[in-house]
Subunit: 449 residues, 2 copies
């Protein structure tokens, strides 16, 4: 009997836990789910003898060590900054580790010790990072295996609302992931990428105006804005010499132009506290960013300042959020970004019957016998319900399957690993197809632009 | 014989040094000018027995203490961050201190000790901060003395090129002060001010589009953009209850719209290093911020991206800076802001025959017997030449005169002081008039806007 320790059981753990329960008998494993809050799990895991939930404090060293020593493998779904605590114990107690998070510099620094101990710490095996690596490397390897040369790579991912649930929402968007990260997305240094062999930079206040439109058959049009960190994977994907390398985030077409209004007004700024935020109304909040005018209404000032039409869909989007209403905010010492998040959460929170959707889309340009060719690869996953969301499935199932393959010796690398090689991606992608997580790859007639 | 120690003798010290020499006999004082570079002073101070220059290292404690102990008063024109070193010695050795810089939190923390020692550390007595305090407080006190109530205050200052020297320069601007501070001006948190009784915030990428146009008789139109720190002086000016409080920086009309092109492109960003900046040309640099296009030139892409006309003055301004030329930059590991500064310095450096100009302008709104009234106060100073610039005069002469008044007991406050009270501003403003530094105050017919 193998023992799995899952530390951290937030919203995205549901599909992972289900997989661990469903496969317990066949794989001869049992699972301990450890979290500071476990009440929400009771319904979920009851009547299953292969799994138990324990109240767990990651800062309690004694508990941490005693749980880890009793396991054969550890999965950490904790907030990313806490992985390092678990990783140090795993090294000391000689246990393998799986996470869905980016490799932090501190973790990277443990590489040699982890290797020497014969362990694998597999990271970036969720959705993004995770499925993006698996699905991109599969096609990149295929192209290279035939002797063709990669010349361009673009990759987009987005968490959205499933089409039938977005109809009454002019933004066609709700939060399906950390709302704060959505509000402050793309802030900081300029977004950097490579286009036609040259570095390109987009400052924050232009990011939502320099987007790319893509269409996915059966799902319509989407719009991708640049991630800040596009180039991180250029080297590790073996694409150092490509002419174009771009990574972005997907929204429905029209979202970015509308979101840009918040950026232009200054409402996404998280760097300073507003005076008297507690007693402000939504209308006061938007008016903070508009010049005083003795005659013009807040609505007119917005139209004038942002140069948008009174009857445009943009005004409709703002109105739908109740932004012009005198609703009290009630947040003390809040930044503009915190207030905007608060207002958006009133409208952008999934209703009990809503289903979410995860979209991933890659474009591979390559030269085959002197001809420019292109492959597009797309994945659409719809959530089953509010427990088994598309987000939970696409984050949790790759983690679950990878954990199984490590336990079974199918993945047998050592060190701090991210899933870039065929021995890892091939069996995981194969099995994910059984769960409706499919990449539709098509070679398309290349259109010279 | 009184002894003055002037530490720091950069560009802005010329008029101060001249004043100290010219008044040496009458005031019975002598001056030691202490700087790490003194060669440039030789020409300047030779044949004057009241003054000597010494090579001085502010980090040499022994030298510092021996010079300070030998003086009756110390003036520090060092870069602002070094004042605290001098201030600590002055406290220990019981000497008064004068600076033209903002009061730092560390300096502020010495308040009680300085007071207890019966010393005055007078700060913010240059141009801005300095002349702004003197000239504003004079009018504010006048208004209050008549029983009227201040309801609004706006204040602008700018260092520019004198009108007859700006003619061939479409920007009508050259650097007359620290170029780096000009390039990164207004970055950071949103600019904050009070307008019609409400806080208002302008994010960085909108600051140069929300400006105020002012006209100064005989000098034409200027344009002011918001300072980030407008409200710092609202309380200390005794204007806590005014409906409008705004401070800004002056440029010639049209400058801000043009500068905004750099902001929109992302060329003023100082937060990240560009790859291969050394081998880039000006044209490569601007192209970094524009999307790839197989057909369009860099010029066309700029016009399209920024939505400006081919034949607009904006294109002329960019072309005049040679921005579209393939001139090599040659700066290693530079940020966008550093490269922009480098390019601008080629064209925005004063020629030997150029004269600079300093403009200050205040607007005071108040209620007098139930009537809304307004006073405008303006100052224009033109440099004599490249030594006695308007900047050197307006920074150095208030420092010089204040130093004299402290030595003579006319200013006899103690503590960490900024010049807000009549005992300080009145005699200084009176004497400045002899040097052509005049404020033209006029009560204007109030125009309801």
């Amino acid at each position: 009997m193998r023992k799995i320790l899952l530390i951290g059981a937030g919203k995205s753990s549901s599909s992972l836990i289900k997989y661990l329960m469903d496969n317990a008998e066949q794989e001869n494993w049992s699972t301990t789910v450890a979290d500071i809050f476990i009440e929400h799990l009771n319904e979920h895991i009851k009547d299953n003898s292969s799994i138990k939930a324990i109240k767990f404090d990651v800062f309690n060293q004694k508990q941490r060590e005693s749980e880890i020593i009793n396991s054969d493998i550890v999965i950490s779904l904790l907030p990313a900054r806490f992985h390092i605590i678990v990783a140090k114990d795993c090294l000391k107690l000689k246990k393998n580790l799986v996470t869905a998070s980016y490799v932090s510099p501190e973790l990277k620094a443990m590489e040699q010790e982890v290797k020497n101990a014969g362990l694998i710490f597999l990271n970036e095996i969720g959705l993004d990072p995770g499925l993006d690596h698996l699905s991109a490397m599969k096609v990149i390897d295929q192209i290279k295996e035939t002797g063709s040369e990669m010349i361009g790579f673009e990759s987009f991912c987005g968490g959205l609302v499933a089409p039938e649930y977005e109809k009454d929402n002019p933004w066609k968007y709700k939060f399906t992931w950390n709302p704060r990260n959505v509000v402050i997305a793309a802030q900081g240094s300029a977004a950097k990428f490579i286009q036609a062999g040259k570095y390109k930079y987009i400052p924050y206040h232009k990011i939502f105006r320099r987007t790319e439109v893509i269409e996915i058959e059966g799902y319509g049009k989407f719009q991708g804005y640049a991630n800040r960190d596009s180039l991180t994977y250029c080297d590790v994907y073996g694409l150092k010499d490509v002419k174009t390398f771009f990574r972005g985030t997907l929204r429905r077409l029209g979202f970015c132009r509308a979101w840009d209004m918040f950026v232009q007004l200054g409402m996404t700024d998280d760097s300073y506290i507003l005076d008297n935020s507690e007693n402000m109304t939504y209308r006061d909040f938007i008016n903070l960013f508009l010049a005083y005018d003795i005659i013009d209404s807040v609505e007119l000032k917005v139209q004038h300042y942002l140069n948008i039409d009174q009857d445009s869909d943009l005004m409709e989007k703002l109105e739908w959020l109740d932004l012009f209403k005198n609703i009290k905010i009630g947040l003390k010492n809040a930044t503009p970004a915190q207030i905007l998040q608060h207002i958006l959460e009133k409208k952008w929170t999934l209703e009990p019957e809503d289903k979410d959707m995860v979209i991933m889309w890659h474009k591979f340009d390559y030269m085959e016998l002197g001809q420019h060719k292109q492959i597009q690869s797309s994945m659409v996953v719809i959530g089953d319900n509010q427990t088994y969301t598309a987000m939970a499935k696409t984050v949790g199932l790759p983690v679950a399957i990878a954990t199984k393959h490590i336990l079974n010796g199918i993945i047998n690398k050592t060190g701090i690993i991210i899933p870039l090689t065929k021995d890892i991606y091939a069996p995981i992608l194969d099995e994910l197809a059984n769960y409706g997580i499919n990449f539709n790859e098509k070679k398309i007639e290349f259109q010279k632009i």
